[in-house]
Point group: C2
Chain length 565, copies 2
Amino acid sequence: MAAALSAQQLSEKHRSTLDQALETIHTRAYWSPHPEHPKAYGDSAAGDGKAAFEALLGSRFQLDQPGTDGWVDGEVSPYGIELGVEYPHPDPEMLLPAMRAGMGTWRRAGAEGRAMVCLEILARISARTHEFAHAVMHTSGQAFMMALQAGGPHAQDRGLEAVAYAYAEQVRTPQTAEWSKPQGKRDPVNLTKTFTPVGRGVSLLIGCNTFPTWNGYPGLFASLATGNPVLVKPHPRAVLPLAMTVAAAREVLAEAGFDPNLVALAAEGPGEGLAKRLATRPEIRIIDYTGSSAFGDWLEENAVQAQVFTEKAGVNTVVVESTDDYRGMLSNLAFSLSLYSGQMCTTPQNLLIPRDGIATDAGHKGYDEVVSDLAGAVDRLLSDDAKATAFLGAMVNPQVKERIEAAAEQGEVALASRSITHPEFPGATVRTPVLVKADGARKQWDGADTEAPYLSECFGPVAFAVAVDSAADAVDLLRHTVHSRGAMTVGAYTVSKEVERMVEDACLDECAQLSLNLTGGVYVNQTAAFSDFHGSGGNPAANAALCDGAFVANRFRTVEVRRPA
Amino acid sequence: MAAALSAQQLSEKHRSTLDQALETIHTRAYWSPHPEHPKAYGDSAAGDGKAAFEALLGSRFQLDQPGTDGWVDGEVSPYGIELGVEYPHPDPEMLLPAMRAGMGTWRRAGAEGRAMVCLEILARISARTHEFAHAVMHTSGQAFMMALQAGGPHAQDRGLEAVAYAYAEQVRTPQTAEWSKPQGKRDPVNLTKTFTPVGRGVSLLIGCNTFPTWNGYPGLFASLATGNPVLVKPHPRAVLPLAMTVAAAREVLAEAGFDPNLVALAAEGPGEGLAKRLATRPEIRIIDYTGSSAFGDWLEENAVQAQVFTEKAGVNTVVVESTDDYRGMLSNLAFSLSLYSGQMCTTPQNLLIPRDGIATDAGHKGYDEVVSDLAGAVDRLLSDDAKATAFLGAMVNPQVKERIEAAAEQGEVALASRSITHPEFPGATVRTPVLVKADGARKQWDGADTEAPYLSECFGPVAFAVAVDSAADAVDLLRHTVHSRGAMTVGAYTVSKEVERMVEDACLDECAQLSLNLTGGVYVNQTAAFSDFHGSGGNPAANAALCDGAFVANRFRTVEVRRPA
């Protein structure tokens, strides 16, 4: 039977997009084929997307995948509505062999064939961006616009970026080569060699609650594009966006003549611990994980049969030493602290501010003044409840709220967290950030038995304004924090070339991604696909970066066959 | 103080070589800048090299590296002479911090600067190829010509190949980029971004006894070129070639203005187990290892703080199904079995031959006839004792001899191993291969409690002529062997397109490197740098291949700094 989607059709449709992605990962210039503006998806997209999402509620999510031994549900939206979607629960003994069955055909598609199928999957997902936005919103608690952008185009960008890296890596070695070795006066020896990228085996994606698509797509598409089946194990509170992704992938695979079981869902029952059980199975050769450091470390230490890519937790620091745009700095930081209620792995937690204050374009500002001005900037940003919810979203889980309350007991509260009633979803828990003053004197953190509260990750809208004795001390505390706790992001504000160099050296030594003097519309917690690396992979917060050669190179191996020419 | 060797001088000398290497890893054509012929090194090279080697004997090998807490010796040549060289023994508490001290300067040299220094180190080693040949010969037991070629130019090629991959990987991301994101009617946001490759930390090279330089150089140069200090822990019986390498590296680093402690030696006392002690230290972030599966598996499971690259052991198979060049096949196989007395990780062990015999250009040959013809071919190749030692070399250690004797008790001996007295070194243990008949019926190997002797790796000149019921059975046994034991190489002889396809599919499915119908001057156990992959990294024999993107990509991380443009 001929495939409904031929390789040629797919190539005509997507090859130029792949080429542009390949070029952009080299130039690192701005580019995206996925529009950020909701209106770009057409006049009816908003209504259609909402209706499609609502039609899923309370239904059984049929995937028609083998090895289903029951159905599980239980997602509750952070906005208070019950999703009531039932998902197939897998029997790995049946499902894993079925997923491997299509590997040979998928291998024979070649690097380009696989890339084109991946781009078609992304295109189908892109066309449903509004529907995905609702699914991401009602599982992560992100505000709608953020769910649309981060969960839609930005996630699709990261997926496409991974496909581009995967493709580039596989075609570094030619498919065939002629090899002729001179033998002095005798005839040369001649060999014909073929090189074939082969996948490692089943790849396991362990999804997270806050960014199911954004953090899930890089691993999913990197593994699929390099020839591996992908088993998607979503966070139990954020299944829907990944179930929709799996459905789209299966649909395209089948239409293009491949085994749809190359992508499958593994939804779990409450408290089942399915990820742990799957992760050490011999069939699982690759794992992508986003979540807590505890489980990420466990995976790195125990899933030794697999290539393990983790994004865990860190403690993100911003050094505030001086600025020539005090207002811009305050509003930029206020936005960074407020966006999605600080529930991003990239949100700053510790703001290191010299006890003696900082030089600014508005004159010298004391430590207390900087802190209260920042508190004021956050207050102003979030003064209108309805508008505030559009930045804040909802608390993703009850633990975040508990941490806000615990943080307020750690020191003098410079800005108290406020409860906001969501105008549309009264069941949502919406909280503004808390800002706590803390003592950054060296004796508070430099020693074996120091337990400064700001040295622990406090996931959520909690920030510490840490008073340090000098810029040099700030840099030392930054180094110590990245080295011992890890960091997804570092920021710094300084007009001093000397301090800039010190911070830069610290980040190079400890392997952390640095944003300097951001005062406009770019925020330390946001990275752009094709240009920015998300995480470094070189400090305790993550063992991989999105996206680079190391993220894709070991997902496949190259098999050589040589024969006399 | 200005460096004796400037970056510009090094670039003028080596940049074109790097460029050629970069081109060749893409074309996979034949190329080498390191001559194989001993005479290519000049008229006096042979004498000078021997004299230089002899001058080292019985001496203390001074490296002037910090943290030396004593001296160790104990190498005995497989040719019977005592080397008597003393090496510094390290105190890791002192040495490891000293090795890290130069990382910042090394990082600032950039990808090209580091590559040029690596190429200068290789050039210095290349100029001393004859001296290295004696050192490799008298630690590995390789015959002189093989020690010169495999330990000299071929090892240098593999080192250069690793530098080329490392360089290419680091420059995939530009050093700087301008990023401009449109904002509709507002001005675009503009950022300037810098990207810097940074090493992970100290890299540990755990050397092997049989190919100290060939197996050591890829990891050493890949790590050094990506910004990491390298601690070289040689096999206690093969220290000298790597000590000479470390000395050459330290000399060049110092001359080029870098800290010589970026490369250091860790020689160990008898039974000290230094590799195990070093491998799990937090400073060690990368490990390259060649040796037994037991210790390689231990490293993979326990050194979880490091990137671990292993080459372990496997069971190499050749399927003998049919041929149109019976004589060529026999002589090719005879050479493969005899070279370095089968003490290569790539030497075939199991020859799978249909019980009913095979079709050849010399008519149908029964199983017994093929086996006895192969035995005859080995006998003829090694009939002259003096010439035979030039292929065989010496037994690297006493265990190999024991395995030859044990193998002879596993079945009917088709070719007995013979002792040869080395004309120049009477103390050497020289043995010809043993060929043992074995039953490859499915019930012998397909089952949980089967223990066919040929399913264990029998390192050394031991081969099994395994009688199988059919070509299909041979392919199944091949699959089973690669899957459960791993394989560095697979060979096959067949004129049948159908059998060829079956063998090829098995190798693609199980991720093994395949050589088809080799009858001339290329052997299944030899791979050429820049063109052939050594190992696949996808079966139990090794978790990495020499050399590909995956071998270098995770030895460094890229730190990004972004600032408003």
